[in-house]
């Protein structure tokens, strides 16, 4: 099996965020070793205290919680992106591992395939 890293780069209110999670969950369901990296505005997906119902959207929380249930091993978040947005990992709803730039480069090398979604 070729391992797959999905880089999720869009804010939670965008359809793209949900569609990136769908790709990871599908791949994981097929037994593909998967990781997901939240980067750029994608890090906002992880923020605690969101209430998407107020803008008549379905919360992403269930899909995010499903990641570990589906066996997605690496749940990662970009340190630089968090910092630019004034966020700390303690504000994240998932137990995401923080990656600095050097670690990111290594991570992307480590996976067989990488999709930026």
């Amino acid at each position: 099996m070729k391992s797959l890293l999905v880089i999720s780069r869009h804010p939670p209110t965008r359809r793209q965020a949900r569609e990136a999670l769908d790709v990871v969950l599908s791949a994981a369901a097929f037994g593909v070793p998967c990781g997901i990296l939240f980067m750029d505005d994608g890090v906002f997906q992880l923020l605690k205290g969101q209430d998407a119902a107020l803008i008549d959207q379905k919360s992403l929380a269930a899909n995010l919680q499903a990641l570990s249930l589906y066996g997605v091993e690496d749940i990662l978040v970009c340190q630089h992106s968090l910092g630019e947005r004034g966020l700390q990992v303690s504000q994240c709803i998932l137990d995401a591992r923080v990656m600095n730039n050097a670690e990111l480069a290594g991570l992307i090398e480590h996976y067989d395939q990488v999709l930026s979604l």
Partner: protein, 129 residues
Amino acid sequence: MNFAIALLAGPQDPAARSALEFARAVLASGHRISRLFFYRDAVQLASALGVQPQDEKDISAEWREFIAEHQLDAVVCIAAALRRGILNKAEADRWDRPVANTDAPWEFSGLGQWVDALQTADRAITFGT
């Protein structure tokens, strides 16, 4: 080599053209395309209802001809398509919609087809991120 090519952006985006030119170059170079996968707004390419001005290219028609000519496996993500109002006859019937707006050579299937293509192709490349 076997290529899996995915497109994420719709007909209005320059990526729809880039992906087609790349796919043509893949075949012209003697390689094969094991699957084309259309996700996100790229599912709009499958619509048979677009009307372009006469002096502009119809990228949707070009994709359709390319796929048909080379008998390629061209999969439209069914979940993305349903949301965006792209339906073939089977889906229109299933969801009780009055008409369909797409047909062969486009095939409707799930994300599993992309996962499968990523696993089995020698090279995977995505356009329109």
